[in-house]
Amino acid sequence: MYPLTEIQLVLMNPTGLHARPASQFVQTAARFKSKVQIIAGSKRADGKSILNVMTMGLKKGADFTVSADGEDEAECLAALQALVEGNFGEG
């Protein structure tokens, strides 16, 4: 068994991972010590870099992987999962 250090997520909020949701993602990731990456297809972004995350251009319906590496990786992934699955607080 490998430790759980990555999760698969699907964007269901209307605007995808842009602007406000992207900033919420980055600010949530930044609360943790772990290194955070977003992987979608062949693209990979630093989950703590707003420009990196916005450049991914992930739209509604996109599925992507979030990986976390560090001492608080489980808590970090749980927080990011809650954010994405809660549609970033969008209606």
């Binding site: 602007a19 992207a22 900033s23 980055v26 600010q27 930044a30 703590k48 707003i50 420009l51 450049t55």
Partner: protein, 131 residues
């Protein structure tokens, strides 16, 4: 938290960028507009810029984003009005004003250093819109 100042020839542009950027920032993030002339006309006013820098000031410093041409000249002049201790911790980003501002406020809101906030704002130069 690094403060952000938006210098534009238009008060509406500066205020609009601040409104938009605040949507991405933590509630206590300082983002101040310095747009237009004292009488509301189009232009940049060094005095307005220096006031905004002082209002955005904390020991973490201030990043200024400018639109075009004389916005930079007015910002340079505004620096002359500031105490040396403040001036040393003010940077002007060579960045697109809106995209740079969004990057900067998010970076500042997570508590990054002035140099990191500057680097993120300037990184917006490379950001592609159509991919």
């Amino acid at each position: 938290m690094v403060g952000i100042v938006i210098v534009s020839h238009s008060a509406k542009v500066a205020e609009g960028i601040c409104d938009l950027a605040r949507q991405m920032a933590k509630a206590d993030q300082k983002i101040l507009p310095a747009g237009g002339m004292a009488d509301g006309s189009i232009g940049t006013d060094a005095f307005k810029v220096s006031e905004a820098i002082q209002a955005a000031w904390s020991d973490d410093g201030v990043l200024v984003l400018v639109d075009l041409g004389s916005a930079l000249l007015s910002t340079d002049m505004a620096m002359e009005f500031l105490d040396e201790a403040i001036r040393e911790r003010v940077r002007v980003a060579d960045a697109p004003i809106l995209e740079g501002a969004i990057g900067a406020v998010v970076e500042a809101s997570v508590g990054s250093s002035l140099e990191q906030v500057l680097s993120t704002a300037e990184g917006a130069r490379e950001m592609r819109k159509i991919i």
